[in-house]
């Protein structure tokens, strides 16, 4: 069997999810035995002109140039995987959408702001068709392996659509609410093995919100622990602001 041609690409992001690949250690060589990585700018100078069997794309779409580039990648790829929160839900780049774009450009770039274009941050699926999603900031490596296997076999991968709390309970963590802290486990998609709570932090919702969140239950929890809803919404927007986007969102010049 010919090894499938795989390309790694990045848009606005920290490139940390691509770095997770290097952390597989010697197992990486087994993965590289099964696929043919033909383009990966962060670690390779090789370039590829042909089509990709699989394109793994990190980062959010934040300007017109990126829209053109992701469309070209989509055209050349049989399968496109959105890789990491920036790609799957917009992630931290989405916080920008809460500001007036001209105002935030002026704040960061001062009087030269006109040189620096930006548009409302979008997740990949808000611009092109996405075949597989690997959520998380950063991605959880065991899930990447699962998705890659599914993509190479051409079978679907279903992102867990139940709350992080399910994993968290199995890991026997003390509930953060019991410690007096608001946590987004109750409404966030599982699949990370409750990584953050295992390490004493809260869930920040980086994997996105479950498709049918238990709003009533969440409200009850917040009332019980006396946590204002605005406080929680502000925190949810750290990763999930892009979910509010409608078609043809506001752009700036």
């Amino acid at each position: 069997m010919k090894r499938p041609k795989v390309g790694f690409f990045d848009f606005a992001c920290c490139e940390g999810c691509q770095l997770q690949v290097a952390n597989f250690g010697e197992e990486l060589l087994d993965i590289l035995g099964a696929i043919d990585v033909v383009e990966f700018r962060e670690v390779m100078s090789e370039k590829w002109d042909g089509d990709f069997d699989v394109a793994i794309v990190e980062g959010s779409i934040t300007d017109k140039h990126a829209v053109e580039r992701i469309n070209r990648i989509r055209e050349r790829s049989k399968v496109l995987i959105a890789y990491g929160s920036c790609a799957t839900i917009g992630g931290v780049n989405g916080m920008k959408n809460a500001f007036d774009l001209t105002d935030i450009r002026k704040y960061v770039y001062g009087s030269d702001y006109k040189f620096f274009h930006t548009e409302m941050t979008k997740a990949l699926h808000q611009v092109v068709k996405v075949d597989y999603f690997v959520n998380g900031c950063p991605v959880y490596p065991p899930e990447l392996v699962k998705v890659l296997k599914a993509a190479l076999q051409g079978i679907p991968y279903y992102v867990p659509d139940y709350a992080v709390c399910v994993d968290c309970r199995l890991n026997e963590n003390v509930c953060m609410y019991e410690k007096g802290v608001a946590c987004f486990g109750p409404v966030t998609r599982a699949g990370c093995n409750s990584w953050c709570v295992n390490n004493g932090n809260i869930c920040y919702g980086c994997r996105g919100i479950v498709s049918n969140p238990n709003e009533k239950g969440m409200k009850e929890v917040l009332t019980k622990y006396n946590i204002p809803i605005e406080f929680v919404l502000n925190k949810v927007n750290m990763y999930n602001k892009c979910r509010e986007l409608v078609e043809g969102g506001e752009d700036d010049e």
Binding site: C13, C14, G16, V43, M44, K96, Y107, G110, P138, M176
Partner: protein, 443 residues
């Protein structure tokens, strides 16, 4: 005889660096007309986005600036936040933070030496062909990288975007078995480190020198300063971190979406070589030994040897990690210091208005974070100055000196030489562009 060559070099998206940059060089009739490193990364506006958020969230958000130095951003962010709040971390916390910083430096340097820089020195396009030709070397690199990642995971949950290191301390402290596990892995890494040194010493670095100013943290004690200290330079500057703006003197250049900096002269350099040039006498004896064998002496003015300085620092970091963990095992860890995230939001860490700065030596050089907060701990203004930004101007001056010296070479050789130069600085472009002309509106 003057070389009357005409050259047009345009490298779009330099590979094996973090982020997007282009090299543009024009030579007409043997004279250099244009020589630039263009930064074309999409801006992400982190500083703008920090406004209105709790200073206790700053670490979580700013670690997402960069996947390679997320622990470095974490530590600079925490330092700035605690400085603004007037909170003094415990000795144990400081020890663990130093350990974390060493882990990241080690991890990042190994990644750069093996996967990003070595392919050039071995004449291939990436580490992929090396899997065939230098299988043992690739396996060693991946093994070392994995070990760094694993000890980091044990200490703070993961390397990319650490979980348990927050303003105030750690949400989870390493248990006895964790210390043993980390120590075992690090001690087990020593033979691989020796082999790395041996291999690196056989690599031939390009012969090139340019006199410039080197900037790094400096201190009066005997410790190689990475986490704390004043800001110093080889031109004799010494300032408190709060005065970082007087160090960086940022200015805009039209061809780059990243700002440039200068101090005593036209440009300055930060990073492993700068640290070595300012503090080499404080390195671990084993690291000093490597420097002697490699023939590296301060002040070394060959930017390509930044990779050699990274090698020397890797040896230093590994030994320091082992020393810190051994110390923690002997003294025992005080678990009463474990904190719950969000305690701040319940008023357990007193919050007051303030302006705080953090200055930390991350793998690529000195990183500054600065937050101004109101009496509720909400960020009013934020500024971060990234090592790569500080190096951009210096890289361009290097390029301007290097190109004329290489004019008798082919265009492909000159292009490769320039790419190698840029890579030697190990630039982190996705970091550098998020931080440009930040103006504090209140001023």
């Amino acid at each position: 005889m003057t070389n009357k060559k005409t050259l047009n070099i345009n490298v779009e998206y330099i590979t094996r660096v973090e982020g997007h940059g282009n090299i543009v060089v024009n030579v007409k009739d043997g004279s250099l007309e244009k020589c630039r490193l263009d930064i074309v990364e999409s801006p992400r506006f982190f500083e703008g986005m920090l406004r209105g958020r709790s200073v206790f969230e700053a670490q979580h958000i700013t670690s997402r600036i960069c996947g390679i130095c997320s622990c470095g951003h974490t530590l600079a962010s925490i330092q700035a936040a605690e400085d603004a709040l007037g909170f003094v971390p415990s000795e144990q916390t400081i020890k663990l933070r130093k350990l974390l910083l060493h882990y990241e430096t080690l991890d990042s340097h190994i990644l750069h030496i093996y996967l990003l820089a070595a392919p050039d020195l071995l004449g291939v396009k990436s580490f992929v062909p090396l899997i065939e030709t230098h299988n043992k070397v690739v396996r060693r690199a991946l093994r070392m990288k994995k070990t760094c990642n694993e000890v980091c995971e044990t200490l703070v949950g993961r390397h990319v975007h650490p979980i348990s290191a927050i303003a105030g301390g750690f949400t989870k402290l390493p248990r006895e078995k964790d210390l043993d596990d980390m120590l075992g892995k690090l001690e087990g890494m020593r033979p691989d480190m020796e082999a790395t040194v041996e291999l690196a010493l056989t690599l031939k670095f390009p012969d090139f020198e340019r006199d410039t100013e080197y900037v790094a943290l400096v201190s009066d004690d005997n410790e190689y300063p990475m986490l704390m200290g004043d800001v110093g330079s080889t031109d004799g500057v010494r300032m408190n971190k709060k005065d970082y703006r007087k160090i960086t003197n940022e200015f805009i250049v039209p061809h780059s979406s990243a700002k440039h900096t200068k101090l005593s002269r036209e440009a300055y350099a930060v990073g492993a070589l700068a640290r070595f040039n300012l503090n080499s006498e404080k390195l671990h004896p084993k690291a000093k030994e490597v420097a002697t064998v490699a023939g590296l002496k301060p002040v070394c003015k060959n930017p390509f040897l930044n990779t050699a300085a990274q090698l020397i620092e890797s040896v230093h970091c590994l030994e320091e990690c082992i020393r810190i963990i051994t110390g923690l095992k002997n003294s025992g860890v005080n678990y009463n210091e474990e904190i719950v995230v969000g305690l701040n939001e319940q008023g357990r860490i007193p919050v007051k208005a303030g302006n705080g700065a953090g200055a930390v030596e991350v793998p690529r050089g000195i990183l500054f974070h600065n937050y101004e907060i109101d009496d509720k701990g909400v960020i009013q203004n934020a500024n971060c100055i990234i090592p790569t930004n500080q190096n951009l101007n210096n890289i361009e001056y290097d390029m301007k000196k290097l190109v004329p010296e290489m004019l008798d070479k082919t265009e492909a050789e000159i292009t490769l030489g320039l790419e190698m130069l840029v890579r030697a600085y190990d630039p982190c472009i996705s970091c550098s562009t998020h931080f440009l002309n930040v103006k504090f509106v209140n001023r």
